[in-house]
């Protein structure tokens, strides 16, 4: 404000621009930076208590072991950005993992067992998307119904049998690409690709528009129904990818629905900055949030928090993260 009376010098202008750009970056990516800072802080604290926390094998456990959640959260983040939600993703992953395992033990080539679940996930979620977009049934209703159908169906068909003669070549998640475990590679590449695409493509930007202001989006020519079907279909593909990672991590697969998986995925997406009101957030945030939760889970064991209080501590940390984010947003807008 003190510049008002004077002609701004070049130096002042560029310094001002750099400063405001910096602040805008912080504002745009505030939640992601916050989550990243929390991860770093956590690592520092716990390593002081037990240096083994930062050893390569533990990093691998935290990052690769939870990569499938991050991959599923990418698709979920996209769905939430458009203002919808999917509570059936956990059941879907259970079903797709069983499909993958069954194909692998029935003599099909390994690449078939890896790609069919992705296609099945795409198909099932396309149906869900059609019901949401064209039949105008709220997504929470459709996915509540889908959850029941998938869970009951899986029990009916398999009875929960163990699949245990998996061919070693099938175990994708245990393999390495250039020395880096496949799940970690998948998580990083998929996150970066999706983030880039969301930010720079018309499709991606239309998702934000749909979530932020649906009427304006439709008025500006975005085909809302088609987009919603497409975003659910893409989400189904990511669920399929996550299911493949999930199914290939161990040498046995239990054909059941992993409990509470959908809650974990949704929490990762929303804590990562994806606003449940739709319209904001990035998939980088959801991946970082998944890593944060995995780190917290591991950290609490390393610092000997009583196992009975584990879940309470995690819940408290979720709330603290959320409140902190809200305060940060408030401070920004003032």
């Amino acid at each position: 404000m003190s510049n008002l009376g004077n002609a701004p010098t070049r130096r002042t202008t560029s310094a001002h621009l750099i400063q405001s750009g910096y602040r805008r970056f912080l504002g745009d990516y505030g939640q992601e930076i916050f989550v990243l800072a929390a991860i770093v802080a956590l690592f520092v604290c716990v390593t002081l208590v037990n240096p083994r926390f930062i050893a390569v094998n533990n990093l691998n456990t935290i990052l690769s072991g939870n990569a499938y959640i991050a991959v599923a959260a990418i698709g979920m983040a996209m769905v939430i950005i458009t203002g919808n939600i999917d509570v059936s993703v956990g059941a879907l992953i259970g079903v797709l993992a069983t499909v993958a395992g069954t194909l692998a033990t029935s003599g099909y080539p390994v690449w078939v067992a890896w790609t069919v679940p992705i296609l099945v996930g795409l198909s099932i979620n396309t149906v869900i998307g059609l019901l949401v977009a064209y039949a105008r049934i709220p997504s929470i209703v459709v996915t509540l119904g889908a959850l029941s159908i998938l869970r009951g169906g899986l029990i009916s068909v398999t009875g929960g049998a163990w699949i245990s003669n998996l061919p070693p070549s099938f175990l994708l998640a245990q393999q390495k690409l250039l020395g880096v475990p496949v799940p970690l590679v998948a998580m990083i590449i998929l996150t970066l690709l999706a983030a880039f695409w969301m930010r720079n493509s018309a499709f991606g930007r239309s998702l934000y528009a749909l979530g932020g202001n649906p009427e304006a989006a439709v008025a500006s020519g975005i085909p809302a129904e088609r987009r919603i079907v497409q975003v659910f279909a893409i989400h189904g593909m990511f669920a399929g990818l996550a299911a493949v990672l999930f199914a290939t991590q161990l040498q046995v697969i239990q054909s059941t629905v992993p409990p509470n998986l959908e809650l974990t995925i949704i929490t990762a997406a929303v804590i990562g900055g994806v606003s449940i009101l739709g319209g904001t957030g990035t998939v980088i945030g959801s991946t970082l949030a998944t890593i944060l939760f995995a780190t917290i889970g591991s950290a609490l064991i390393f610092v000997n928090v009583s196992a009975y209080w584990l879940r309470a501590v995690i819940g408290l940390l979720i709330l603290i993260t959320v409140l902190a984010d809200m305060l940060r947003r408030r401070r920004r807008s003032v």
């Binding site: 802080a41 456990t61 049998a161 003669n165 591991s298 609490l300």
Partner: protein
């Protein structure tokens, strides 16, 4: 808010270290324990009076066809698919029983109680069950008894007066002894070990952990329990938890005990993928199918369990005998088809036998 994470974590880490001192192992319950002798001396069996419940005005079912429903803890997991198979095998063998398995899709007391209630209304003759909670299931089972239905439990007991008989797969202290002895044989008498369980609220697991603590203190006092982690019924979570244990303790960890068919294979896989087969022993309760790759590779030497198919089979025969009136309170043994005579213990429990230990040579003979 970053500022709050550091002090919170430090405060928590200091405050909870105190809780380690005097408590028994995390995950065990606080009921009295009864560890067996350290050698192979069998337990003293004291005769106990019959303490089961009685149906009110049960119709005479001797020789007549009956309809039976089996309500396990939950459906959709391999273990109860196996017990269901045993039950249906026995029903086919007996010829005059129509048996159906129907259970909740989650190990939830409310769903199980509602299911049993529905079957009481529909007028079944007999109920077989594996309880999610011994006390919570008692009111609805007593209602069944009051309706003249025969009630027999297996795998997970309820309060004695809410059922007529309970088929026990193995005594809790027997399981504890088998597991800890197997663990000590592999880790040595000074080994340090950790436990991976599914949930702390499952009564059977809490009993096993408590009995294991008592037996270890008595017969392998130099071994050290490190901690217990909980991993729900999630394979990958159990895998990650087991890995975290391996990472946290490094070479200090000599053994992992898995308490369920979900935890044990995950722990075995964690040890395999960490390249520590042979350095970290994995012992636990699990179904053979879940463990075949690990036992085959030599990473896991032995898997402790009983035969759930036999368990279901025995339960069905017991129910038929009860319905026919051939098994009366005060009996000391009961004939269970091809399993022969089973002993009555603790007043109203029927013992299936000693735990089975599956090894490399035997594991491929089973398919459950």
């Amino acid at each position: 808010m970053r500022k709050y994470l550091l002090p919170t974590l430090l405060a928590l880490s200091f405050s909870t270290n105190l809780s380690h001192a005097a408590s028994p192992w995390t995950g065990g319950d606080d009921l009295p324990t009864n560890p067996l002798a350290c050698d192979a001396t069998p337990a003293k069996v004291e005769a106990k009076a019959y303490d089961g419940g009685t149906p009110t005005n049960a119709p005479d079912r001797k020789g007549k066809p009956i309809s039976v429903v089996d309500v396990p803890k939950l459906v959709g997991i391999g273990y109860f698919a196996a017990t269901a198979k045993g039950i249906s095998d026995a029903a086919t063998e007996l010829g005059n029983v129509k048996a159906k398995t129907d259970g909740p899709s989650k190990a939830n007391i409310d769903d199980q109680i509602t299911l049993i209630d529905n079957y009481i209304t529909s007028g079944v003759d007999g109920i077989l069950y594996a309880a999610n909670d011994p006390v919570a299931i008692a009111p609805v089972l007593k209602k069944a008894l009051a309706a003249g239905i025969n009630v027999v439990g297996y795998d997970a007991n309820s309060t004695p007066d809410s059922r007529q008989w309970f088929v026990n797969q193995a005594e809790f202290n027997g399981i504890a002894k088998a597991t800890i002895d197997a663990l000590a044989a592999e880790t040595g008498e000074e080994g340090k070990f950790a436990i991976v369980t599914s949930t702390f609220t499952t009564p059977n697991q809490a009993r096993w952990i408590a009995e294991m603590a008592a037996y270890q203190a008595k017969c392998h006092p130099k071994m050290e329990w490190l901690e217990t982690v909980e991993a729900q019924e999630d394979n990958i979570l159990s895998f990650n938890q087991a890995n975290t244990l391996i990472n946290k303790y490094g070479d200090d960890l000599k053994g992992i005990v898995g308490m369920t068919s979900v935890a044990t294979p995950a722990a075995a896989d964690a040890v395999t993928q960490a390249g520590k087969c042979g350095q970290v022993a994995v012992v636990g309760l699990a179904t053979p199918n879940a463990m075949k790759p690990y036992v085959g590779a030599g990473c896991v030497k032995s898997v402790v369990l009983w035969n759930p198919v036999d368990l279901g089979y025995a339960a069905m025969h017991v129910l038929r005998s009860v319905a026919d009136g051939t098994l009366q309170p005060g009996a000391t043994s009961v004939k269970a088809g091809k399993l022969g005579d089973l002993k009555v213990i603790n007043g109203s429990e029927i013992l299936l036998g000693a735990p089975t230990v599956f090894t490399k040579d035997t594991i491929n003979n089973f398919d459950f």
